[in-house]
Amino acid sequence: MAGCPYGARSFNWRDPRQYIKNENKEFPFRMKGVVEKCTFCYERLARGLPPACVEVSQGAIVFGDIENPESAVRKILSTNLAIRRKPKLGTNPSIYYLL
């Protein structure tokens, strides 16, 4: 938690389910007292679906394999200027923000 320089991790200070009105039983939830972070919805990726945020962003977020020269992310990065948060810390962040 304290070590993450991006504020990307959160902690379940209480049981998270009490704050969720409609629980989606298809995907696992985590208990109180553990750390959470974005996993790019790997359960959805395993089914061939994009991460939930990508789906609802209507094209504002592009997700894919940067190693693959044919991928959508690779193409969009080659045409736009992009920045990453705190690259000098050496964490090699793989989220790019288009300018």
Partner: protein
């Protein structure tokens, strides 16, 4: 020797009973925390360490400071510390006990505590901290107990204990260096990410520990017939004085680096603590009291007549101890999290349940300390003369 703790005055039992009530209150509140989760504390996504980790950090220093007695005594044969070596070692024992408990109450899933051993993570500093703290606990309990036992029998200490004494001296700084590494190795926390952190941890530890030992020695002299010795108390006060001055200097080095370089991310936590940031200033009063106490403590302990007069000495030692407690036990930890990685301020203040649990852990530490000191003072009262033939009971 444990039986010595079972005979005491009504005041002794009353004190233990009072502590037991505080421990009970802390324990019941902990059960509530166990049920609901750490959400009952003031900690949040942005400030994920609070009072618990602050107390842990501070008390590791108090524990390490036992070395300020045992090093002059065992390495330099400073005889005046012969009587109080065990006082320092037993303080270390109870401090480490509190440290371990403060880590325990900060765990989100306490039932998984053994995973630190069952599934060790050698890349984590916490893994090493667990090792050094536990070894230090055992070393101090062993050394203090064995030497007190030989004093009780009126025999010289067994020779096999010697290597353990020397290991304990080497081990003491390690516990606090490793604890500093928990902070100074974190990227993106500019208030902590400085190489002087470990040095400042050691210096503030050697200011806070001896100042507490000054007060404890005077209490022991007041409530028992054992006399830790005027000269020993004075030397402790001197140790505390110089390390307090060094700590203040180290802090000023930090301030210089942050402000002369002009790097704003280094300045924000300091501005937050001393002046407030973006209109948030909950810790400014705490920091102001801290500065005031540092000035009082340093003035009294450095000035010989004020240090020698026991009324001012008590005020100076208490100021030093409280100052270091506010700095390390609260502001250092919280200040490091402000502002958050997005540049905004989210403040922390402990909640009532969190405070009760904290008091409960302190009470447990003092419960153990009282029993250990009761045993030590009873042995020393009966031995009458210390190892060097000087009377160690009140005339």
């Amino acid at each position: 020797m444990l039986e010595l703790s079972l005979k005491g005055s009504p005041r002794y039992w009353g004190w233990l009973f009072f502590l037991a009530i505080l421990i009970g209150a802390g324990f019941l509140t902990y059960l509530y925390q166990f049920q609901v989760g750490l959400g009952i504390t003031g900690m949040s996504r942005d400030v994920s360490w609070g009072l618990y980790i602050g107390q842990f950090t501070f008390l590791v220093g108090v524990a390490a400071s036992a070395v300020t007695i045992v090093l002059p005594y065992y390495l330099h044969n400073y005889k005046k510390y012969g009587r109080i070596a065990v006082i320092g070692e037993f303080l270390a024992v109870s401090s480490i006990l509190m440290c371990i408990l403060f880590i325990f109450v900060d765990l989100g899933q306490p039932t998984r505590i053994l995973n630190v051993i069952l599934h060790p993570t050698p890349s984590s500093i916490m893994f090493y901290d667990m090792i050094v703290l536990n070894v230090y606990l055992i070393l101090n309990l062993l050394c203090g107990w064995v030497i007190l036992m030989s004093e009780k029998k009126g025999a010289p200490p067994p020779s096999w204990i010697k290597p353990f004494l020397y290991i304990a001296i080497l081990w003491a700084p390690s516990i606090h260096i490793v604890t500093a590494f928990l902070y100074q190795g974190l990227p993106g926390r500019d208030y902590w990410m400085t190489a002087i952190m470990a040095a400042k941890f050691l210096s503030s530890a050697f200011a806070s520990g001896p100042s507490l030992l000054v007060i404890l020695s005077m209490l022991i002299r007041k409530f028992t017939n054992f006399d830790p010795g005027k000269e020993a108390i004075q030397t402790l006060a001197k140790t505390s004085a110089y390390f307090l001055v060094v700590t203040i200097l180290f802090y000023l080095f930090e301030v210089f680096t942050a402000f002369y370089s002009g790097i704003s991310s280094h300045q924000y936590p300091i501005i937050y603590l001393f002046k407030g940031l973006d209109g948030y200033s909950k810790l400014v009063p705490v920091m102001s009291i801290c500065i005031l106490l540092a000035v009082i403590g340093a003035l009294i302990l450095v000035t010989p007549p004020l240090r020698k007069w026991e009324v001012t000495l008590t005020i100076g030692a208490a100021s030093t101890f409280l100052c270091m407690w506010l700095e390390k036990g609260i502001t250092l930890v919280v200040g490091g999290f402000i502002p958050n990685p997005f540049g905004s301020v989210f403040e922390y203040w402990p909640t009532l349940p969190e405070t009760i649990i904290t008091i409960g852990v302190w009470a447990l530490g003092f419960f153990v300390l009282t029993i250990l000191y009761k045993i030590a003072s009873s042995v020393k009262e009966k031995a009458i003369f210390d190892k060097y033939g000087e009377k160690q009971i009140k005339a």
